[in-house]
């Protein structure tokens, strides 16, 4: 695998990361935001995998696998919380969640 390929892969990761950033910042719906988070996490995984190919002990790939698993856990917890919120107040948009304050 050439360095050019690596660089392009990294650009892809950067794209995923910044798209995730955009989604996270702008979208109101909390599930949408979760989608953005997934994009950002994927970007990290891509970087790990990209470098993993130069590492005989493929630690990057292993780490990415763990990261994927953790992501699933995270999403499941998030959804459980969202479910509770929706049940309590019928709100699923983040900007409507403003009960806490000073």
């Amino acid at each position: 695998m050439s360095e050019t390929m690596l660089t392009y892969t990294l650009y892809l990761a950067a794209l995923l990361f910044s798209s995730g950033t955009y989604v996270v910042i702008t979208k109101k719906n909390s599930i949408f935001v979760l989608i953005g988070v997934e994009l950002m996490l994927n970007a990290g995984n891509v970087v790990l995998a990209a470098f993993s190919q130069f590492d005989p002990s493929i630690n990057g790939q292993i780490m990415a696998i763990f990261a994927v698993v953790l992501t699933v856990c995270e999403v499941s917890i998030a959804l459980a919380i969202l479910l509770n919120i929706y049940r309590k107040s019928g709100v699923s948009n983040l900007d409507e969640l403003n009960e806490i304050g000073n």
Binding site: M1, A14, S18, T26, I35, G36, Q53, I58, A80
Partner: protein
Amino acid sequence: MIVSIQIFLLLLVLSGVGIILFTKNIVHAAYALCLTLIGVAGVYVLLSSELLAVVQIMLYAGGVVILLAFGVMMTNRLRGEKVLSGSNNKFLGTLISISVFGGLCYIISSASFETTGGALAEDQIAQIGVSFLTDHLVAFELIAFTLLVALVGAAYLAKMAADE
């Protein structure tokens, strides 16, 4: 061949990301995420991380997206209408994400990488399996426990929601 696959994957990812970025419909976004994730899985294959690609498709494209879809359904009033999400902070978001992208690209382009690592093992899956019990034993133990925690947590919280 490789190049055409690369271009195909890139298009896959880009279209997925594009839909996510510009759609208002959450369900569409969830499916677009699925698209993206599959594309990324393809990239993993190209990066000779086959197991990761598999995990990606199974857990992510399978698990996460379905979870998200369920989430959308459960947390939004579905009375036949589309589940739409508004946006705010568009200008700032654009600015920030473009600067993030630009900055990262600048950093990547200005870096030079050691691309002459040793050869990869033939049987990556076996290698990974062994490493789970040797080099990454602690990590393996830890992720197992984390899964338990997340499971219990998610279940308990969801149960609370159900008890309402």
